[in-house]
């Protein structure tokens, strides 16, 4: 496949995806179960109206991108028009950011693991490990700071939310619950 075609397909992909999801949801909206009253719009009307508009916009964009000679000619909002062509004063040179997808995926996985584990391992332990993992994934290298930020931060957040804001954070189960309860006692949290 030629490079321009790949570029065009890459631009088309999000609209095709959204259009497909929209169509599926439209089908789902058609199955909404309710007792119809004559002359009154049902609960399916509003979502179907919005989905219809969503599909129409996607279809327009797909056709436009498929047929357009210049791929950068989409209609822009007013802010885009104002900022377009404004010269900013030259500043210190900063190289463009390089994407690091592995770092992102690791960060997302750590966050998902946190949510999956916090009910079992309790707030304190999970948070301390998560903050440490986040800092390491983020490329931070000072070990003492990582240790202080993770353990100290978890204790501080636990104190603020359990003692001051009265949120009952997950204490965990089994030995993890014992640890959390011990810490709660030490911090004077009931």
């Amino acid at each position: 496949m030629s490079a321009p075609l790949i570029a065009r397909l890459r631009l088309l992909a999000p609209y095709v995806l959204v259009c497909s999801i929209g169509s599926f949801l439209y089908y789902t909206a058609m199955q909404i179960d309710f007792q119809r009253r004559s002359g009154v719009l049902g609960p399916d009307f509003w979502p179907k109206l919005i989905l219809g508009l969503l599909i129409a916009v996607c279809a327009y964009e797909i056709i436009r991108l498929a047929l357009a000679k210049d791929l950068d000619t989409g209609t822009a909002g007013v802010l885009e028009e104002i900022t377009h062509g404004v010269d900013t004063a030259p500043g210190p040179e900063t190289p463009p950011p390089q994407n690091q997808p592995l770092r992102l995926l690791a960060g997302m996985a750590a966050t998902l693991a946190y949510v999956a584990l916090v009910a079992t391992t309790g707030f304190f332990l999970t948070t301390a490990v998560y903050i440490a993992a986040f800092l390491i994934i983020g490329g931070y290298k000072k070990r003492k700071v990582i240790a202080t930020m993770s353990v100290g931060g978890a204790l501080l957040l636990m104190f603020i939310f359990m003692k001051l804001v009265y949120v009952s954070l997950p204490i965990g189960s089994g030995p993890f619950a014992d640890l959390t309860i011990l810490l709660m006692k030490l911090m004077g949290i009931r």
Binding site: L53, E80, G107
Partner: protein, 500 residues
């Protein structure tokens, strides 16, 4: 008028109570810090502060959030001017003239103009807010569902057409948000919509969860992908603020007035916020200002116009919130959330039932602006030091606040799961050029739009022309449609010119 002044005085007495004054100062300082840090936006800051207000009384909670909102429009100017690092999108226009002024050795003057502009914009808008609130609330009492729908439709249209990026993407983002708001059990029929058999979805998706995920976590993921690169800061000498003389300020009165009016007007329009106000005001100055041809070369007008408008937009945005219960921006949506958490529904009736809370909110804007300017004058040097903090550490705590914020609302881990999902969606939106704000506004205003649309259809026998025949709804609908069509027309005209 006398009644308004009496109520406002009572509001000042409330704000001056030590506890409230303490939370106001904390809010101002947090707002300033959030605005200085490039990874944190003003809306994100207000979102993250919300869970800390759960156990507070309603007045200190609202004072804290409003103070953050006010000061969040100001401090980003410091880093724009001094380091060419805009704290958030609002501050981008400030670097076009602010940074060149700093390069010419006029950083102190530039900071002085910023302070005066924020003070003037904030005070004018706060006064307008106090004067307009009761009359608007009285008018709003006469509104029926077609008028409410027209106002919301206008808000949704403006968030799409006034934003940056492609119009089609903004529309898709908006429709996605409105659809998210339909998830759950329908109020009228009790029908399940898009719940897919998941019990928690029957309660619907809380807009706060969407906001925390999309604005907070999504932004952190975005910065994580870029490796948390802190900006390269230039060495700046002594950081001082030199206020302009009265004569210098008076010579620029037209710029102040234009900026203030633009800010108030944009603030009132639901859907447009401080960023739009700041950009639009700069655009107006570049078109109509006395020294329009020198804009961008480092002149004070380029600072005064956007800063006045940005701070003025706060007062404007609070008007539809308190008088009609319609939040016009992300930050006002959070303030609405704080109201609702304390069992208070803003709207025309609130002036009868809880006027002391509303006037405490109004008074806090006045006091907040004064405190903000005092801190701005004396502490800029110390506040910008926060930029030395490694971004990854700040981000780790932002994520923790997001997770805790989502959990604390209903003590539910399912909300945390949803928040993480919206964080990933927020990241994907930003990655592929779909703006987040329309989606968030769609989730917030979607239920109001649906309720008022359906009520109108039931009341007027499915006659949709009623939106175009009633004296108040009709012009608003027409303006909304023009707002939507205008970018398309401009685009078509540009293409015509290109082909010629």
């Amino acid at each position: 008028m006398e009644n308004t002044l009496t109520l406002l005085m009572h509001g000042f007495i409330q704000v001056m109570q030590p506890v409230n004054l303490m939370f106001l100062t904390i809010g101002i300082v947090l707002g300033l810090l959030v605005a200085v840090l490039p990874g944190l936006t003003l809306v994100m800051g207000v979102v993250l502060a919300l869970p800390f207000t759960y156990s507070m009384d309603v007045i200190p909670a609202i004072i804290l959030l409003t103070a953050m909102y006010v000061s969040g429009t100001y401090a980003g100017a410091w880093t724009s001017i001094l380091f060419r690092v805009p704290g958030e999108p609002i501050d981008v226009p400030l670097l076009w003239d602010g940074y060149p002024m700093a390069r010419k050795g006029e950083a102190a003057q530039a900071l002085g103009w910023t302070l005066i502009a924020a003070f003037f914009g904030g005070m004018v808008a706060a006064t307008t807010m106090v004067l307009l609130a009761q009359p608007v609330a009285k008018i709003a009492l006469t509104f029926s569902s077609p008028e409410y729908f027209a106002i919301i439709f206008f808000g949704l249209a403006s968030v799409v057409s006034l934003g940056s990026g492609k119009l089609a993407n903004a529309l898709i983002s908006l429709f996605a948000g409105i659809l998210l708001a339909t998830v759950g059990v329908d109020d009228t029929y009790g029908a399940h919509r898009f719940t897919f058999g998941v019990p928690i979805l029957a309660d619907g998706i809380d807009y706060l969860v969407v906001m925390v995920g999309a604005y907070g976590l999504g932004e952190v993921f975005m910065r994580m992908e870029q490796g948390f690169r802190s900006p390269q800061l230039e060495k700046v000498g002594d950081i001082r603020t030199r206020l302009p003389s009265l004569a210098e300020a008076l010579a620029m009165k037209a710029t102040f007035i234009r900026g203030g009016l633009a800010g108030i007007f944009i603030g009132i329009v639901p859907g447009a916020g401080a960023t739009v106000a700041s950009f639009l005001s700069y655009g107006i100055e570049a078109q109509y200002g006395k020294r329009r041809h020198q804009m961008g070369s480092g002149i004070p007008e380029g600072i005064v116009a956007p800063q006045t408008a940005a701070t003025a937009s706060v007062g404007g945005a609070l008007i539809p919130l308190v008088t009609m219960g319609i939040p016009g921006s992300g930050a006002t949506a959070i303030i609405l959330g704080a109201f609702l958490l304390h069992g208070l529904q803003p709207g025309p009736q609130v002036f009868q039932t809880s006027s002391h809370i509303i006037y405490a909110l109004f008074a806090s804007v006045f006091v907040g602006i004064i405190v903000m300017c005092l801190i701005g004058y004396f502490a800029t040097k110390f506040m910008v030091k926060v930029l030395d903090l490694p971004e990854v550490i700040v981000s780790a705590y932002v994520v923790m606040c997001c997770l805790l914020g989502a959990f604390a609302a209903r003590n539910s881990l399912t909300d945390v799961w949803l928040m993480v999902i919206f964080g990933i969606i927020g990241y994907l939106f930003e990655r592929f050029g779909f703006p987040i704000t329309p989606m968030v506004l769609g989730v917030i205003l979607g239920p109001l739009a649906e309720t008022n649309f359906m009520t109108t259809m039931i009341s007027f026998s499915n006659d949709w022309t009623v939106f175009f025949t009633r004296p108040v709804a009709s012009p608003i609908m027409c303006v909304a449609i023009i707002t939507l069509i205008w970018p398309l027309f401009r685009h078509w005209r540009q293409q015509q010119r290109r082909t010629k």
